[in-house]
Each structure stands twice: as C-alpha cells, then as structure tokens.
C-alpha cells in the first residue's frame, strides 16, 4: 500500500478509536474492546474500498456493509461520522435517550445498511443483499463483519452453506478473530476453532491476515475481488482493545465503559499516537 495512503488510514483509525472511547465514556456503557479491534478494518473499507457517498447515503449501487457483530457499533458510528455521514459531535450522544445512535446499529441512521445486534443474523442479511445483486445484475459488493465468538451461533453456518450454494462471490465476510468473548477466551468458552478450516469446509475462499496491518488488509480485499464462484472469508487476527494499552487483550473491556480517569488516560494515549503519525 502507498505509504501516504497508509498513514492517512492509520490516522483515521486512530480518530475512530477516539470516537469509540468518547462514545462509550459518555454513554457510561457499551463495548469498547471489540470496537477498537475493527477500527483499522473499517477505516480501510470506508476510506479506500467501499463505494459509498455521505451526500447520497441511499445511493442504489452503493456497496453494503452489515455489522453482524452489532455491539461494536461505536466503531462504525465513528467511521461514519469521520466519513461525513453525520457530525462527529453526535458520537457523544451514543446510547442516550432520543439519540439516533442506538446501542446497536439501526437501519434509519444514514450510512447504516441494516439493523443488527442479535448475533448470527447479519451474515444472513448480507447473503440476501448479495443474492439480490445477483438477481438484478447489480455490481455492488456486500461486506459483513462477524465476531469470532459470534460464529458459535448456528445461523452463521446456515448462512455459510447458503452463500456457497448460491456462489455469492460478491460477498465478503470478515471474522474479527481477537480470541476473546464475554465469558473469556474463545478456546475456553466453547471454541469455534479452527475458524479458517470451518469456512473452507463450507465452500468459502479463506484468507487469513493480521487485521492491524493495512498492507495485509488491502491485499486480502484485492484478492477477494479476483475470486469467482464462491464467497470470501477474511479471518483477521486482531487485538481486542487495540490502541489503548490497558484495554488490550483484556476480556473485561468487552462490555464496560471507561470511567473519567480511564477515559482521560485512553484519550491521552490515542492523542499521542495521532501526534506521532502527524509528525
């Protein structure tokens, strides 16, 4: 990836992480851990890859994204605000009564293609969108992001069967493989591993990458574009809580918000990271 583009994406991802902290701190609740792990992916998708237009959010041939791991809405909201779908100031209203920024994504928010939050359902909806494009010979692509714990839901595998049966090569499912779910490590709760082998067995083209390496992210999505006749699964290894030192790899940050002290510490760290990128 071009170094200038990469640096820009790193800045956007860093700002998105600030939005996650800002939102969850003001909400006094939410899911920072899994939100922080997908900021790099979302920065790449919305600022390099996807055909979307904040001035025309309902554009018919736009690429779609279904955040199947809907609890990480703070990351998606941050990215959409940075992209210009709505003012960044609104991130502070996350989870407040009367705010459009519901705890989980809601279809009536500009830039959100589908309501989600109940795990395992988004991938089916993404399959429907991809099938729809095939039916009417439209060229948009459909992306969906799943949690690694989420794929313990049986519906994910019903959808996986469906996607390969109908050869949905316009569908890319990303599994955010940060190794942690609410009750603990994936390997200790009820392991869905090996994840890559499972998707392969269901007829998908599988690409495994480091989800915090923009070169690898770009390469994976470029490869996905060349695959025909089958859907693509990108298994991205990530760090839950990425970017905030005391949140990294700590399962306790799956679903709890920072207090004032933690908020200030997290923002100081992220500000420093941004400053380092701008130097």
């Amino acid at each position: 990836m071009d170094e200038k583009i990469k640096k820009n994406l790193m800045k956007i991802a860093c700002k998105a992480r600030m939005g996650v902290i800002e939102g969850t701190y003001n909400a006094k609740s939410g899911h920072p851990g899994g939100s922080l792990s997908i900021c790099d992916l979302l920065a790449y998708l919305y600022f390099e890859k996807m055909n979307v237009d904040p001035k025309n959010p309902e554009m018919k041939d736009r690429d779609r994204l279904v955040l199947s791991k809907g609890h990480t809405a703070p990351a998606l909201y941050s990215i959409l605000a940075l992209k210009g779908f709505f003012p960044e100031e609104e991130l502070k209203t996350l989870r407040h009564i009367g705010s459009k920024l519901q705890g989980h994504p809601c279809i009536n928010i500009d830039g959100i293609d589908m309501s989600s939050g109940s795990l395992g359902q988004g991938i089916s909806v993404a399959c429907g969108m991809a099938l729809s494009a095939k039916i009417s010979s439209e060229n948009y692509k459909v992306y969906t992001i799943l949690g690694d714990g989420e794929i313990e839901e049986g519906q994910v595998w019903e959808a996986s069967m469906f996607a390969s049966h109908y050869k949905l090569d316009n569908l890319v499912a990303v599994v955010d493989y940060n190794g942690l779910q609410i009750d603990g490590k994936l390997s200790e709760v009820c392991s869905p591993e090996p994840i890559d082998k499972k998707f392969e067995a269901f007829g998908w083209h599988v690409i495994s990458i480091d989800g915090h390496d923009f070169d690898q992210i770009e390469k994976a999505f470029s490869e996905a574009d060349t695959i025909t006749g089958k859907p693509v699964a990108i298994i991205q290894k990530t760090v839950k809580g990425k970017g905030v030192s005391f949140m990294e790899n700590q399962v306790s940050w799956h679903g709890s918000a920072p207090n004032k002290e933690q908020y200030e510490k997290a923002m100081a760290e992220l500000n420093q990271q941004l400053k380092d990128l701008e130097d």
């Binding site: 991938i123 729809s132 019903e158 469906f162």
Partner: protein, 315 residues
C-alpha cells in the same frame, strides 16, 4: 351444500404467487425445503430463476429475506407456521420487524388441521407470537378467494406481513367476482342482533354454518370475518360489542394470544361485554385426520352453536 368447492389456502398461496409474478417483477420466493407442501413449488415451476431454496434452515431464510427486502426485492419467505413464527421468531423480530422491512412471510400448515403429523407440527401459537412484534401485519384468510386477494394486498402494502395458510381443503364461500379484500377491515357476513360471532381463517365458514342453526332456534347471530388480525379492525369489533352485547370468537389457534385475545383487549377498552373464546385450549394438538381433529378440539359449527347459546346467557 354437498357441491361446494373446497380448496386449501396453501394452494391459493402458491397459485397466486405464480399469477402475480409477471405483474410484480421484484417478487421473489424463498422456501426451506417444503416447496411441495407450501405450494411455492407452483411458483418455482413457472419462475425457477426467482425461486431460492434455502434448505432446512429457517433462521437463515428469514435473514436472507430481510437482505432481499433491504435491497428492493419483495421476498415471500415460505415454510410451515411452526418454523416461520416459532423457530425463526427472533430473526423475524430483529431482522425483519425492527427494521420494518418489506418481507412477506407465507406460513402454511397452521393450526391443528395439519392432521396426522401431530403436535410438533401443529402451530397454535403463531398469531400470538407475531402479534407481539411492533408493526407486524397478520392476515389469516378464510378461503381461496380471500387468500388470493390477500396475497396481492400484501404485495401492495410496504412493510412486514405474516400470512397464515392451511393444509386442509376448506369450502370456498366468498364470491370471486364480488369479493373485495381490504387490509385491516373486517367483513360482516351476516347481520344479527343477539350476539356477534367473530371468526378467522377456516373457522369463518363454520361460524356461518353455526349462525344458520342458531337462526332456526330464534337466535340472531351476527357473523364477522376478521382476516386481518393485526392491525385489528377495532372500530368494527367495538361496534359489534355495543350492538349485540356479547361476542364469541372462533379461531384455529390457542385461545391465548390470538384473535380471541385481540378482540377481548379491544372490547375492554371501548365497550366491555362478555367475550367467549373458542379455540385450542392451553394444550397441544395430536395426530389424526384433520376434520376429526377439528371436531375433537371443538372447532366446528356444533360447538360454536353450543358455546354461543351459553354466551348469550352472560348478557
């Protein structure tokens, strides 16, 4: 009326999908390995490119339907009521109901008239489940004529619709040349002053038969067909309550949460009168020929007559 034509509303469903496909080019049909039974196979034969079998995976099918609707298609997701409303309930609620997507759920084999397959497949709870979903429209047609028009009406309405069809061939009593289906509007089939019998689905014909016997006994029973259970025609229901002072509801569904509950809830708010509910009591169905089962569970004209006689005494 030995010569009356009988037809299962699942047949009407499959045929009307086929007949409407040309007019509505965005109409697509999904099924979960039951196309032969739900009769979507009729559509599949005529429009194979617009039919998608999802296999035995109802949860995913409902999600796929949501994705199709979110991108401009009008999907009819078809399976048995048990799996559409029961197994896939949470997907219907969260992926279809909450985003208020334009998905039509074609649920066949509703109620105990499934027959020999028995309790696991006899869904007497689907109306109750679907009623709890905000913004869900529920249609339970009474015969072939009504079912066909209801399908087209569902297409023209933008939003989620749950349509309930039966396996058993039932009398076609509406006149196809004169009947006009209006979503959300109850139909007064027979005027009466002593009691109102409000029925839905295949019980409407039985209610009409019961009203004739009651008339012979000197009881003037009004008969109302409520095909749209949600949104309920509360105006008509309340008028009937005030006019006749007692209501009997009849449905092939649990007495908990279905038409009877909906009517009782409405009446308590506008014109509190006794409401006697006929339906499947708080119990499971069982195997047997459909017609015999309907009698056994009191879903027949004879029982409607008996219950109506008693209901009038409550006035």
């Amino acid at each position: 009326m030995a010569d009356i034509i009988k037809k299962a509303t699942r047949e009407s469903y499959g045929e009307s999908l086929r007949d409407l496909a040309e007019k509505y080019e965005n109409l697509v049909v999904l099924d979960a390995d039951l196309a032969a039974a739900t009769k979507t196979g009729i559509f599949k034969k005529a429009y194979p490119d617009r039919f998608f079998d999802c296999g035995i995976a109802e949860a995913n099918m409902m999600g796929v339907a949501a994705g199709l609707a979110a991108t401009g298609k009008i999907p009819f997701a078809s399976t048995f009521a048990m799996f559409a409303a029961g197994r896939a309930y949470e997907i219907v609620r969260n992926s279809i109901g909450y985003p208020h997507l334009n998905v039509k759920i074609g649920a066949t084999h509703a109620g105990i008239s499934v027959g020999e397959d028995g309790a696991t497949h006899q869904c007497n709870e689907d109306i109750a489940l679907m009623r709890t979903i905000p913004g869900m429209t529920i249609i339970n047609p009474a015969d072939d004529v009504e079912a066909r028009q209801a399908v087209e009406s569902a297409i023209n309405y933008v939003g989620p619709v749950y349509m309930r069809f039966g396996r058993l061939a039932i009398p076609v009593f509406n006149d196809k040349n004169n009947y006009k289906f209006e979503l959300g509007k109850g139909v007064v089939l027979r005027e009466g002053t002593d009691v109102t019998i409000i029925a839905t689905g295949l019980m409407v014909y039985e209610a009409l038969e019961a009203s004739k016997t009651l008339a012979d006994e000197g009881i003037s029973a009004r008969v109302v067909n409520i095909h749209t259970i949600k949104p309920l025609d509360t105006e008509l229901v309340c008028k009937c309550a005030c006019d006749t002072g007692v209501i009997v509801t009849v449905e092939e569904h649990s007495i908990i949460g279905g038409l009877g509950s909906a009517v009782a809830e409405a009446v308590t708010g506008c014109c509190p009168v006794p409401v006697v509910r006929i339906g499947v009591n708080d119990e499971y169905g069982c195997s047997g020929p459909a017609v015999d089962l309907l009698k056994r569970f009191g879903l027949c004209a004879e029982n409607i007559v008996a219950k109506t006689r008693n209901a009038i005494k409550l006035k």
